[in-house]
Symmetry: D3
Subunit: 278 residues, 6 copies
């Protein structure tokens, strides 16, 4: 099921973090291309452009608790949801944790289904320009505009906090209220905001939470977002145990200078260090 890149799933053991590509964008509503992200992120990560140390000084190259598992091979849109859940469950079942690379945001729903098989209580911290809470979109309940509606309906998370949201329709406001979603609109975000979680945290990072100036390589440009620095500071100062994460919606087709790919790599390194507690 895994198209091995560097290593085998059997190398995952308890406490390890597997980086897993999920090159699926079949549920994108506007542009495709996010399925090309895992390959581009690896290309950038393994180039000689930068080193493997994060801003705290910790070096991933000195730590053997993470592994690159390669990509999940998705057969087609019909099978996607089931396959992603099964693939993630396999890693979690071996005691591993996951940092997945999308693909579009629709992958977060099956990932969370896998996580709840293992974690009784999960809090989700979602970085996103959009709430992704549509009941359905263009007639598709699994659209990348809908994953958090499915997650909340199925009670896969105890708490959902959304940071960076800057466009809402009345329907989305209603959905957020119905599910008790905590939306922190970007214009009310304060530098000193403290995000503290008591339960295990799953971090879902949609690249479009960043302003398009910092991350042009996304399918939906929504101006007025965070700078990369702001986002790094939120992640670095986060209080809580992170047990999983995804980086989604990076679209290499819209990244001619490679800047967005490098931002995704920087986030991958900082989030991975955070999961490793380093």
């Amino acid at each position: 099921m895994f198209k091995g890149f560097h290593q085998d799933i059997n190398l995952i053991s308890s406490g390890m973090v597997g980086i897993l590509g999920i090159p699926f964008d079949g549920f994108s509503s506007f542009l495709r291309g996010a399925s090309l992200a895992p390959a581009r992120i690896r290309e950038t990560l393994y180039s000689d452009s930068s080193n493997m140390c994060v801003e705290s000084g910790f070096c991933l190259s000195d730590d053997s608790r993470w592994i690159d598992l390669g990509d999940l091979v998705i057969k087609n849109s019909t099978e996607a949801i089931r396959q992603i859940e099964a693939g993630c469950a396999a890693v979690l079942g071996r005691g591993g944790l996951l940092l997945t690379l999308g693909g579009d945001h629709s992958i977060t729903y099956p990932i969370l289904r896998a996580y709840t098989q293992k974690f009784a209580h999960i809090n989700i911290l979602q970085f996103d320009a959009h709430a992704d809470l549509y009941h359905e979109y263009d007639g598709n309940k699994y659209s990348h505009a809908c994953p958090f509606a499915r997650i909340m309906e199925e009670k896969l998370a105890d708490r959902l906090v959304q940071v960076g949201v800057r466009t809402l329709t009345p329907h989305l406001v209603q959905q957020a209220s119905r599910f008790g979603v905590e939306i922190v609109p970007i214009d009310r975000w304060k530098n000193g905001s403290n995000l503290t979680f008591s339960d295990p945290v799953y971090l879902s990072f949609d690249m479009d939470v960043l302003d398009p100036a910092f991350a042009p390589g996304v399918s939906h440009h929504e101006p007025g977002g965070f700078s990369t620095r702001e986002v790094l500071e939120i992640i670095q100062s986060l209080k809580g145990r992170i047990v999983g994460a995804d980086i989604v919606e990076f679209n290499p087709v819209r990244d001619p200078t490679g800047v967005t790919g490098m931002v995704a790599v920087k986030l991958l390194k900082e989030i991975l260090a955070k999961i490793l507690g380093a």
Copy 2:
């Protein structure tokens, strides 16, 4: 005179806002291309990339008080000033208000001429990297570097406040002083600055007030400008009745990734909501 896009000028009635393209860049001093902006802005606005709601939650799609009037057809540079004034006066004469899409900044002068036929007292709030107060430029008194010199000479505005200016020559400083222009240089702008106006406000938005990182698609890159977020916050917190606005100097030729077009659309929506009092 109007190259109709969606609707007819006869559909404008009192209190309505007409969006009007003015695809004219014949008075640009360095690069042309701003005349392509109205078409690109419409292309982006009507795509499925985003919705029609603004950050306050108000949805333009639910409001029938605005209309897209299409573009003014400009015969040539010689006729431009007269034609723009006449076209705008026609809309204002029917009781409508205007949100125009340039074109270069030279269009603001004839627009203001039309406005003063209707409004006795106007305050202008200009977002711009430049003061645009040259007495003449390259021998042309109607250059896009000169509109506010013309406006102040003819006393078309009681007050002119310039925000974001970050390059001034001695001549411009002299002109500002002569006309009593209130320049708020960007390095003295404070987050808490409050812009409050008692008279009706005309908002003239030159895209180059934004840092080129946020809006590369302008003819004159002037680094060190505002972020999109900063500009949105200024507009959203503005005190005063806005009775007209323009968005100028977007140059699609310099916008390969489409980011600047999306910023223009975001501003169009936020400013339109502001004019509608929503």
Copy 3:
């Protein structure tokens, strides 16, 4: 049903040609973005970059037998096929002919369904890097990889000639043989090849028939294609009465310098002149 651009369908009368945008890319298998093509083509066509005369000297601006009908509004993927057929049938029913602007190649199937309601015998000349004859693709029988399988199954055309094809799988070879499709592989194309048709011809032009050097703005780059000049010469020397055409698969997201948009406009003008017999 029509989102009017310039004119109304009621202005279509017998012998006229309607330009109709069909901004639909819901059946694209790899990238989306082709739905943005009609808006970009109009933006380019109506800019002042070039005139409205074709290479033969004939000027479209002097001819009142064509009209820009604006875009069909497609509700969603489920309705698309039916809606496109109905929209086209409405124009054909008034005695008009169609030059449609896609959208992805899936639109050709419903267009042909509309055409056969009016024309008993149709020959299709398809310019394409691909045969688009898959029985189904990713589980979708209406995928942009399949339209000509549907067309031939339903016998909507008496003859299908494909020019420029340069990638074939064994399944496609089998399909071509089953349906009697005449594939002229690009490496066997001779400058002097003469395309002569006795029945009315429908011309389906997939932009990826051009080498990506000439048309980078397509979803599937297939190197080794025609130059723009070669394609113009084939079209200009074509023998037969053209009664309809489409230009599909232009993807503006991949066209940062605007060159592909200009090629699409050039083809639009030359093909329109050809349909008008000029």
Copy 4:
């Protein structure tokens, strides 16, 4: 009057060729940016990307009969025509020949005025997608769409041959006929065409004669043009004594990958070698 780059006009002596930048685009009708071309061409020419030898094997670096004169400083549009003529006349007056780098095509008219002070009979070979024979354009008789109307009116050339033209309006056809211009439309160009001139030849090279695939960096994209190879072969096989040349309409703003700049440099080297008789 000269903004010296490398050398002084006094170093020009009889038989030498001066390369002279004329950074003027004030008479461009659609986009500006061609004034940036001389700086970009020099940047590319003097980089280490390639050597100074042409395809015949002759090396410009071994020849002291050419010199880079830097740029003419143009005060403003009103003075431009007069200044360009005077600047060129100064070089020709010292016995030198000129290879000028535009700037838009409007510069060719004053250059020819300078040439006729020295050469009694001139034949012009113009490479261009357009005829540039408008009597006036947008009310401007000196527009870049008009230089050859002026040249022929004033009988500055005995013969004008245009190669690569692929868009003509009825007015232009009429002008060509009136002035006896020999237009060789691109679709009637044969590989074996032989261009032979008995009088001294002035070569005016508009970069848009090339297909936009080969030269995207021009203001007016006109698809269906020559390849760089085709153009090189025409120049290399040209029969006649070349006494002057210009390379115009390169617009660096539209050349993100630098390819067009390199084509301009290649042409500069080949044409220079041709003038030197090498």
Copy 5:
């Protein structure tokens, strides 16, 4: 020594072809970036943009005689030559053949050193805009401008045929003469040229043999090159047994739209099929 991508060197057996990335550009004289090519080529090859069949109809996906060996890990410039020779010799020693992906052109010299350990007589067919025969360049005998000087000096090939060369200095002409190199300058290439070899052929493909319109993603743009179609036809009609090949000098940093990467992939597929005799 191998950074495994998909498979292990032990899977190579007699008659198989290994695809091997050599991400080394330490001997590039002008720009770096070619070391990023193997990752970008794989990203493109394994995307869903196209299938694995070549123009003859043969499908690589149905053939088990080739394998992707991943990349050679090069320690540093000092070790590079020795490491590349050893890595290639390891594959050849197991009876395999090689299709290597550069990296810059300096890798061809050590590859040939490995080949001569196995093949007594080798003919090289080099596609290149440049002769790469400098005795030394910038003081470096292993520069990417020198590999074929080294190869001919050490008599690693019986015959060297260069196709597409279009820039030569006197020194290079002298070197070619000294080594008996057969240069076929691009302007003397005839469509009907037949390349026939009796000995085993090694094909060295420098991407800059293509015109920059077709392959902008190279470090040295040399306008006037082949089209992709021309190159495909030469390769497809080649007479002789190909026992090895490299594709070098693709520089992803200069390939914003991804077109060059797709050309490299197309060539990889066609050349691989040719080596497999399919």
Copy 6:
């Protein structure tokens, strides 16, 4: 030794500032291209896009105490260090000060060697995403990753303050500690930080200190950096006498829209004004 651009070194006299290009990138570890920066900076500086006044109101065009010296001609990598030191010493020897335009960061070491011949005590303020303190890199002690290790070893500066650093390896931390380097990591930078120096200050500005959103045109993208505004404010509020500066690592190959070039020009103007005490 100088490839003169505008002026001669003999025009330098005491108290003057010479702008000197050093187009050398032979010690770049990842990408080349920085050698193209001086030409691109001049192209941008001398274009008509902006004026020559800085934000304080002071106009460089009214000051005769600075001069553009053109570029140093570097023979090859072996000679580079020695040549740069000699070239700079020549200017300093005439009583001039230097504002150099790189080139990669390796040029700062020989520049400092020249400075210490004249200044007994120098403090360096380095803007950089990286510390550039490697003892050696890829076996090269003069790599652009090493200049400040050389400078501190040879005690060419009394004090080294690094601002904007956001990636460090354990080796670099150790080197900083060994040499007493004051690193101000970017996440601990406070808006109100005051940089005050008592000794003469040399300012070394690596463009990658800026976030890639503001300066995509650098070889090493390191997201999370300063905005252009932040950097301008630091420079403008700096306390101390600046006696020299360099602007390095601008790579035009990665600057398709020209934004980074304009940022470099803005910095050049502001820093030059600062050196002139204006």
